[in-house]
Chain length 369, copies 2
């Protein structure tokens, strides 16, 4: 396959930062929630090395928000996720898979609680708003569900704390993981959260007025000059090393929450109704048939994948791999894959064939141990 | 803005025809329903001229289907659209805007009736399945809602009938507009419909087994050799000339069905419950504030638009344009735009400024008269 250009028509929404992204020489993008999401400015490995040493600013406006507010907001948010949301404090976010009545994953957002009865569902790539609106309508619930004018800008990397302390004050350092404050930066109203799609630490700045996008970017950019800031994006190598799964590839609406390693985010006995309860109960008693696992192919640099790679064991298909990158840290290709439960235990081996070459991949634990 | 590459990861789904699309030298694509949709093989004007004279094969697998079947299928389909669906015969499709309880457009699909209690909603670019599943769950309806393995391949252009008669037999010519038959082509199970996203006539072949994609493409390709077939895609110039609006740009979930020119697809008194009834009734009594219209700038070749262009009248913003192409037929740039009702009458003029140039656009009727 040869490289192809993306035609950026108005159907693929612009971000408030797009002008700066192009000025920084963006080379490739993807489309996420009907919006551009930058992928590369130089190349993935160069950007990975920079991210792990310095600090980057990422246009992640494509992480859209679905606001749920009103009298029945908590009841509705509880209904759509197996995680118990009531204990989440105002000013806190929680990672919470969304699942329907069959236990199928609809998305894997962070849910931020802005007030007792006001939430932002900060989504991966699917139209969660339509689903939530449909459920709320069908149930006759008293809520507002809409996409607010909120566009996250991420600041990620080991120098993110230093940059943010310079930009908004030393108190930024004391924001705890998945906690947020409401403040202004360069005159722009923002929610400032310690979170982000890397294991390098940092912040997500939820800009609440898209007209202030360039001013916010410029303020971050200027504060980052002494820390060798660069424009970046969620990095494939880094996310594999950190173990971050991506909705739409590593898990889809064809997968059950219990197959995706979400056990620790499921509170089956939470004191609130939720759609997936019966299905999860049945799956738990029967046992899951497939599991999302980490795979490693040592000392091999596998090519990028366009679509899923079939995995075999003893001449039989036992699953498929959905993400792959070569890790300089592990000197191995790292993969995420959905495999039969019988092949999912750490140490299990599966075979894959790529462009005529045959490779053996070993199932690893969550942290590649 | 410089050209950028799209990174085709597994999250952006492949189509059953993708290998042939690349072999035909696709230069650019867009993303539609989380799947690739080709845009250009040569350039838009060259492809337009070919489409209007010969026949093309289009990979439109990204027009996904949402299947609704089961006891309450008709009731559910009626609920989500203001159009009366009961009169639609088995073997027929109808264009039917979907609208929520606020009258906001969710999508503008063709709904195909495969059996009394089995429908395919053939969608534009939004996750209709999630919305329909949410509504059905909330209402406790007895239906199955899912995305079947169905991938349309379009055959469009004035020689489409000749090609299809050669391929499946003379009876193909007698398929009426928006009617379909179930048959096989090259061993592949298909629904063959007279429809498609152009005004040049032709068919959409709804392939029901993605494993047969290349065989189907090759059969169409071979039958098309004597008609100078080429690989193409929905053509920007042709769709402007034909007046085909695109969901996500020309109308979005921010727009009311009555603002989008859907009056003729709304049956306010249909004998079935539908979500948008109250909202449409209220809008009709108050009058709409905006309208989606056709605009023409004569003798000017405006550039492609990345995002919407602001429209002014007497120094005041009165709307925005969402699509634009230069039409060789009309020797004018054609645009679709949402404008205030007061500026929406044919003959009204609005001003737009692009890269420092000022232009006057005239509102035209539906058929550019």
């Amino acid at each position: 396959m040869h490289p192809v250009e993306i035609v950026l028509s108005p159907r693929l929404r612009t971000t408030p930062y797009e002008q700066r992204v192009f000025e920084q020489g963006v080379k490739s993008v993807t489309i996420y929630n009907h919006m551009t999401l930058p992928v590369n400015f130089t190349d993935t490995e160069d950007e990975y090395r920079h991210l792990c040493e310095h600090v980057q600013v990422w246009d992640v406006a494509a992480e859209r928000q679905v606001e749920v507010s009103g009298k029945d907001a908590l009841e509705l948010v509880e209904l759509i996720t197996p995680r118990h949301i009531a204990p989440c404090a105002v000013g806190q976010g929680v990672y919470a898979p969304l699942a329907d009545q069959d236990g199928l994953v609809v998305n894997d957002p962070i849910i931020l609680r802005l007030a007792e009865d006001r939430f932002w569902i900060s989504i991966a790539d699917s139209d969660v708003m339509l689903w939530v609106k449909g459920v709320a309508y069908g149930r006759g619930m008293d809520v507002n569900v809409f996409e607010p004018d909120v566009s996250p800008l991420a600041v990620q990397g080991p120098r993110a704390d230093d940059l943010m302390a310079d930009l908004v004050g030393e108190h930024a350092r004391s924001i705890k993981f998945f906690r947020f404050i409401e403040t202004t930066i360069a005159g722009a109203p923002v929610v400032l959260a310690r979170s982000g799609w890397s294991g390098q630490g940092g912040f997500e700045i939820y800009l609440q007025d898209s007209a202030c996008g360039l001013a916010l970017w410029d303020a971050v950019w200027q504060a980052g000059q002494k820390y060798q800031i660069r424009a970046g994006s969620p990095n494939l190598i880094e996310r594999l090393e950190t173990g971050l799964k991506s909705y739409g590839s590593d898990m889809t609406h064809d997968d059950h929450v219990l197959e995706c390693g979400f056990e620790k985010f499921i509170n089956l006995d939470k004191p609130a109704e939720f759609m997936a309860r019966d299905s999860i109960g049945q799956f738990e008693s029967k046992g899951v048939k497939r599991r999302l696992v980490n795979l490693m192919v040592e000392n091999e640099r596998l090519p990028p994948l366009r679509s899923k790679w079939s995995l075999q064991s003893a001449g039989r298909v036992v699953g498929s791999a959905s993400s792959c990158a070569y890790s300089p840290k592990y000197k191995a290709s790292l993969l995420f894959a959905m495999v039969e439960a019988g092949a999912a235990a750490p140490g299990s081996k599966v075979e894959l064939e790529i462009d005529g070459g045959r490779y053996t991949a070993v199932v690893k634990g969550d942290r590649w141990q």
